[in-house]
Symmetry: C2
Subunit: 420 residues, 2 copies
């Protein structure tokens, strides 16, 4: 590696991930990459690694305006000042590496476009620790080199940890969330993770890559896992399924069908076997070839490793996978999507109830694959679980609305899609 | 892409894979790669793609000695004339791309060494269709950039297809093999696949990559799946395991512990969920990070795609993952390896038999995790299945030899390792 190619790096944000990156760049040392500045507002905090004082700074402006710095690694997260830092760095002619999926999901249109227009590189593998080894392939899809039929992905370790605990230990959502918080797998305010927002951010960036468009796509359905009950997980298990929070991208005839929702996947399948805080991705290409990947979705070392991979791409002049065009990006409505469904009805325990539900389904061409009805343990109502064959989403939703109006139905029917 | 970088390609072997490669290079067209010659001894055969006559030749010597050809793609397989073709191409200053794992496993020491000495590139992703996206990482392990604790891999689609069919449909090995042959998932002579030889060839090449050594490693244990019975698969299922043919590479203190054997893996795990003709790889790195990959292990399109990836690496001047040193490569003996075991004893149905077995285990510090003994259905003997906690291989083998000498034991005890 010639000295000419050596890249000078500033790391902004000296938290867990920043410490991991500093560890690799400064202590281990990586050819072609030279750490020259580390910025954090808090330099007093005790950290596992001590840097000489001349590396340290409290002011990101100083790093971003230093002409000796080639690449700015933004690891503070959130919207501001991360947004201002990234934009300033690009405008000063620097390349940027980041783990900030929230910012790229919200402001990607501006930031990707600016990077493309200024011919700068923007690395964000670290925003996709669980599937970063696929992002080159995802980007190729945007140039027609590779077409996908579907991408189904578990992208949030916290949710998967909670669902795994509920499944393994029969815990309720609240108990499993508390355990995840106690063990450091969930934050004090876990809503980004458990309400599907973090998964949705990642799906939005993946979509930009696959479509090769930094145009902001419209909204798509996002549901989290707060309403997944222990009994749904138990019934799913009896039927051979695991409940997972799945990001779905399915391109069809130039339109993208996108959602983030809890789903039933077969227990013995790639996504079904993903346990704890892991992430997993299942893709099917245009030839029907299905491939899968399982990897940790977070953690200091895997995230820092992803940052280093981006830095090496920059140092060695490899093309970066980033959306660099403004192609229009259309999302399809789910109305006509065909899925299988898991339905849990709460009905009064009397003759003819199942028949009435089945009659409504019959009217909408929905056929039933399996039924579980156990003997009643409550006087108020009894759960009836039905799985269906493929049905159109529009038909299903209309049918459920009708079912829920029946006087024998005592609570809103629980609807979970089956991906299989 | 400038004309100067354009690579002229000769494809030798116009069978299924060759047809796939020609389809991509000639019909689809790929920037930087120009198909100029296709060689096969049989040019009369009907093929899904027709090439102009001036592309075709029956004589590989003509292609290999043509100074206008930059890369020779050898897709005829087997030892000769593939070996002579590859060596002649390297000596003529050409790069080589191949899917030939048998040749590289047997002659890798000469061929890799020759490629390294002549500064030529040798691409063999297509020999690892099921995990080719990992071979860069495997090669990095040989330069200490990345260390693995273990690689457990299902690398043979035929065996996995047969084991999956036995599991799903309760078939015997013979029935499942016949079905695989009828459906084209197994060859008329299936021994390379079902006796573990194909997996062993792939493991040997992976080992060369991970150790970054083209020195031929010594022999390691290789067992196939012929002796896996329907009842073992059934018992494994009752205990929550799938039976898989697994290649194992575990580096420890500079020594590699390597084997190819049937193994029990948890049903709900990456390897346990791999169904049909798929391949899967589970790796654990030095930080304890476990990652997994599932992909088709064969097929015209996935294999041709892997060939194209190698050709693009060559055209675009990227470093190729190949072993390029003669570092000594030591294999460890399994004697002291600690594993869990599945054991099926065939014993006479009388009092005290289980106690006698347990006493022998006790003497060797082997402790029992689970027992299944069902009521006898035969007068001759009854199966007793035991799983153990971790035990040293040496102890286990000695204990089994003692058990098998007991007069109440009526057949050799079936031993399958548990990887979990």
């Amino acid at each position: 590696m010639t000295e000419a190619k050596m890249k000078n790096i500033a790391v902004i944000g000296f938290g867990n991930i920043g410490t991991g990156v500093v560890e690799l760049l400064y202590r281990k040392g990586i050819a072609g990459l030279k750490l020259v500045r580390v910025v954090d507002t808090d330099l007093e905090k005790k950290r596992p690694i001590t840097l000489p004082a001349d590396y340290l700074s409290r002011d990101w402006r100083e790093a971003v305006s230093d002409p000796g710095i080639d690449v700015v690694v933004e690891l503070i997260g959130g919207i501001e000042p991360a947004r201002t830092i990234q934009i300033a760095a690009l405008q000063k002619g620097k390349d940027v590496v980041t783990a900030n999926k929230k910012l790229l999901a919200r402001e990607g249109q501006n930031i990707f476009q600016m990077a493309a227009n200024l011919d700068r590189r923007l690395g964000f593998r670290a925003a996709f620790v669980g599937c970063h080894s696929l992002i080159h392939e995802f980007r190729q899809a945007g140039t027609a080199a590779k077409k996908f039929r579907r991408i189904h992905a578990i992208l949030n370790g916290t949710s998967n940890y909670i669902l795994s605990t509920m499944t393994r230990e029969g815990k309720t959502f609240e108990e499993a969330l508390k355990e995840a918080q106690a063990k450091g797998f969930a934050e004090a305010d876990p809503s980004d993770d458990i309400d599907g927002l973090d998964t949705a951010n990642k799906v939005r960036i993946l979509l930009a890559l696959i479509a090769n468009s930094y145009q902001r796509a419209g909204d798509f359905p996002v549901e989290g896992i707060r309403d997944i009950s222990a009994q749904d997980i138990r019934y799913a298990g009896e039927l051979g399924y695991s409940v997972k929070l799945v990001g779905v991208i399915e391109p069809k005839d130039g339109v993208f069908y996108v959602s983030v929702r809890p789903a039933l996947v077969p227990q013995i399948s790639l996504l079904g076997s993903i346990d704890g805080a892991y992430n997993g991705t299942e893709t099917e290409d245009e030839y029907g070839v299905v491939s899968g990947l399982v990897a940790p979705g977070a953690g200091t070392y895997p995230t820092a490793d992803a940052v280093i991979k981006d830095l090496l791409d920059i140092a060695e002049g490899r093309p970066m996978p980033m959306p660099d065009s403004a192609r229009p990006l259309a999302l399809g409505s789910g109305e006509k999507e065909e899925r299988r469904y898991y339905l849990r009805f709460s009905v009064v325990d009397q003759a003819g109830v199942l028949a009435r539900i089945c009659n409504i389904f019959w009217n909408y061409n929905i056929s039933i694959a399996a039924v579980i009805q156990k003997e009643a343990t409550s006087k108020d109502f009894v759960p009836v679980v039905i799985t269906t064959h493929l049905a159109r989403e529009g038909d299903m939703m209309t049918a459920i609305t009708e079912v829920d109006k029946l006087p024998v139905v005592k609570a809103r029917t629980k609807v979970i899609r089956i991906l299989a």
